[in-house]
């Protein structure tokens, strides 16, 4: 059994272990909106001393807990698996809990604003209902015919692998709200709904693929995607969203001809 490289630590490990946290000063520029105070959104700057290895979420917490308790945002797990805290950080959709301060140039003010294309309810909180409505519209559940087997349904590892990527989705909406087509017109189903349809269309156990493809053949379905790749770039789970959308398009085409 190999012993770990304890004598010659890699630089990365040394850096990770360096206990002494050196604080730096960063400016957080947050787009605030509170309908109980004003009908306009405005930018407010907050200065904090923070360890650059901390997350943007930690910085937001620092603001909320130490400076201004009215700052409002959603969060739960704090490590990128619950999908609560998608927001626009330095102009790009990310999860606040998966973005470290040091990775986004703390020299300049860090801008934080809500994701685009959904109704802003307060500060960084948006109305997620239209997003989940689109998700529900694609029938995101296993559809089967005939009698249930007594044991599990069989599926080869290859068939399982076929849709592995799209099972990772945490419904954070980073993709849908990064899509230029969605901003213009909230009618587009959006990449997240398509990803979740893909997860079933390409599941060998599922028999409802035809219906889902038909739903996505809608005028607000997959054909509105202009392959801008913003969704793929934004997905915090590293899902190849655009690829999934293209696979659905191709499935529709091959089904048709």
């Amino acid at each position: 059994m190999s012993t770990p490289t304890l004598e010659k630590h890699s630089d990365a490990l040394d850096a990770a272990e360096s206990g002494a946290s050196h604080l730096i000063t960063v400016t957080l520029r947050i787009r605030r909106f509170n309908s109980e105070v004003s009908d306009e959104a405005n930018w407010i700057d907050y200065q904090l001393d923070i360890d650059p290895k901390e997350r943007v979420l930690d910085a937001l917490h620092k603001v909320k807990w130490e400076i201004d308790g009215t700052l409002t945002f959603r969060r739960s797990c704090a490590h990128g698996i619950c999908g609560s805290d998608a927001m626009r950080i330095n102009g790009r959709n990310r999860l606040a809990c998966k973005t470290l301060i040091k990775d986004i140039n703390p020299e300049k003010p860090i801008t934080v604003e809500p994701i685009k294309g959904l109704t802003v309810l307060k500060d960084l909180v948006v109305d997620m209902d239209p997003f989940f409505q689109a998700y529900r519209d694609v029938m995101p559940f296993l559809i089967t015919k005939g009698n249930e087997p007594t044991r599990e349904r069989l599926q080869s590892p290859e068939d399982r692998e076929r849709f592995d990527d799209t099972t990772k989705c945490i419904l954070c909406a980073a993709c849908t709200s990064s899509c230029p087509v969605f901003w213009n017109d909230g009618q587009y189903f959006g990449p997240a709904a398509i990803v979740n349809a893909h997860r079933f269309i390409f599941d060998s156990r599922d028999e409802g693929g035809e219906q889902r493809l038909e739903i996505l053949n809608d005028k607000d379905g997959v054909w509105r995607c202009r392959t801008t790749f913003n969704c793929t770039d934004a997905c915090p789970r590293g899902i190849e969203v655009t690829k999934a959308i293209q696979e659905v398009k191709r499935a529709l085409i091959t089904r048709r001809f």
Binding site: E36, S38, N184, K219
Partner: protein, 156 residues
Amino acid sequence: MSSTDSVELSASSAAFSPDNPAPVIEPPRARTKRTPRVTRTNFELYGWLFMRLSGIVLVVLVLGHLLIQLVLDGGVTKVGFAFVAGRWASPFWQGWDLIMLWLAMLHGGNGLRTVINDYAERANTRFWLKTLLFTATAFTILLGTLVIFTFDPNIR
């Protein structure tokens, strides 16, 4: 930018309060609660496919056209009535230009239709813009076709 101790957000014009909140910030057109509409035809599918297929053909036609018009034989200097007359004497070039015209206009027209769908906010605006687009496209295609077929080199 205000400073860090601005716990009280400065109120704007109206006096909003917890009991009298301002309207929230809505995106231009929100997706509403609804089951998928029954507007499903294969139109968008065909449109999408047409854009790609016509695109491939257009590469040959348009780039060829540009090559001839602008690069070969002294480029744009040579273009004149006589040049056009010479080219359209051959059915091959007539066909070339005809197909190019139709494909490019339909391709561009359909492209513009998506653009309108994306940006026009109200249903009404959408409708009028699309009507305008359709008329312009149809007019151009017909006019162009007419010109190619009824071209008379001996008009002078």
